[in-house]
Symmetry: C2
Subunit: 195 residues, 2 copies
DNA sequence: ATTCAATTAGACTATTTAGTCTAGTGACAG
DNA sequence: CTGTCACTAGACTAAATAGTCTAATTGAAT
């Protein structure tokens, strides 16, 4: 087993700790202890706790979001079915169902008070919104949905309601309830369905 | 202007600070300074920071939730219309639209790591879910919705998706977008409508 | 007015926090 | 083999943190 470079190990552990405990409640010392990395090494690679977490957001959290929520549409598959598939994949991810969406949780904690975090996190939100919007627009142009469907606002609705459902207390969440709830989101698409 | 009792003042300021900054990022000293209350007084009334915030949750946050989201149904009004009215009231609440639901935000921050907070916050979530569930059941018995509507899961969906929509970054939130998004939630009810 | 409990006041403590500093180590180029 | 430089190591610092302690003050009852 090859030794993982210090910087990469720090990013991995930082993701885990911040995901579960949040930014403020995660101490640098806790990260260093769990990663078995001395302080000097960390401050050699990152100039502050905030820089470390911002790097983690870009290099770990964002790629994970891309993996969690795909906007792929398979051959001969309706857009609705593509959404359903994505929800199914999400429902099978134990971490997501238990602890909610890490991007959303960080945004809830920090966006109101830290403009820098808000700016970084918001770009990803807008990118994801754009991905869903493009799918909806494809559905419109393919005649699956009515032209009256506002792809911009509906995309935002899908994103935020999924996050809301996911990020409930772990004691109130389960894979099964997520799947049922996400079906209701698809129900609201029915109003705009043509075929 | 009558002087507000120390304990009450502390609960008020604690709500404001924890709502915006979160539990961990709010220091006892910051609360005391803003409330102009000396440390001894606070620790006379509450045995710890956690006790102070738990008291705030029960005595301030919960009543506010009751005020924010009412389950009242006016004479000659459909259940659907009652929901629409509630959403309209919520959309006019600047704090809610800007900073999201304080109950949900606290749950996102603490439920995964603190069982005591999770237990207290979850009771209110279940109570609110029960309120919505009762409205949906009334709608079923009055013939507004089909019996196939699962009032339990749909109530959870309504609650969590509203919170998800509300608790997005302040920089991405507005009263208008909330109103549009909440309409999509009502759209998903259409599938179960009879009249 | 006097007593007494409730409350206020804030200096103090122990711990944890993010961050600094300087000395060392090791790999690699010449 | 040697000099260099990126990285490691962890003791150290200053600030902030939650919480303690004892003395002073207040207000209500007698």
């Amino acid at each position: 087993m090859k030794k993982q470079p210090t910087r990469e190990k720090l990013l991995d552990i930082t993701f885990e700790e911040v995901y579960i405990n949040g930014y403020t409640a995660t101490s640098v010392d806790a990260i260093l202890k769990k990663a078995s990395v001395p302080k000097g090494s960390m401050y050699h690679h990152f100039k502050s706790k905030k820089e470390l977490v911002l790097a983690m957001v870009v290099e770990r959290l964002f790629p994970k979001m891309d993996a969690f929520f795909s906007y792929e549409i398979k051959e001969n598959e309706s857009i609705t079915q593509s959404f359903r598939n994505t929800f199914l994949v999400v429902s099978k991810n134990r971490l997501l169902v238990t602890y909610g969406c890490p991007l959303y949780r960080l945004m809830v904690e920090l966006s109101a008070t830290d403009k820098e975090f808000d700016a970084v996190l918001s770009t990803k939100v807008n990118e994801m919104k754009g991905g869903i919007k493009a799918m909806l627009e494809q559905g419109i142009s393919l005649g699956e949905f009515d032209k009256s469907l506002n792809s911009e606002t509906f995309a935002t609705y899908m994103l935020t309601s999924v996050w809301g459902i996911l990020s409930l207390s772990p004691s109130l969440s389960s894979s099964k309830t997520f799947l049922i709830q996400s079906q209701y989101i698809l129900d609201s698409l029915e109003a705009y369905k043509l075929t």
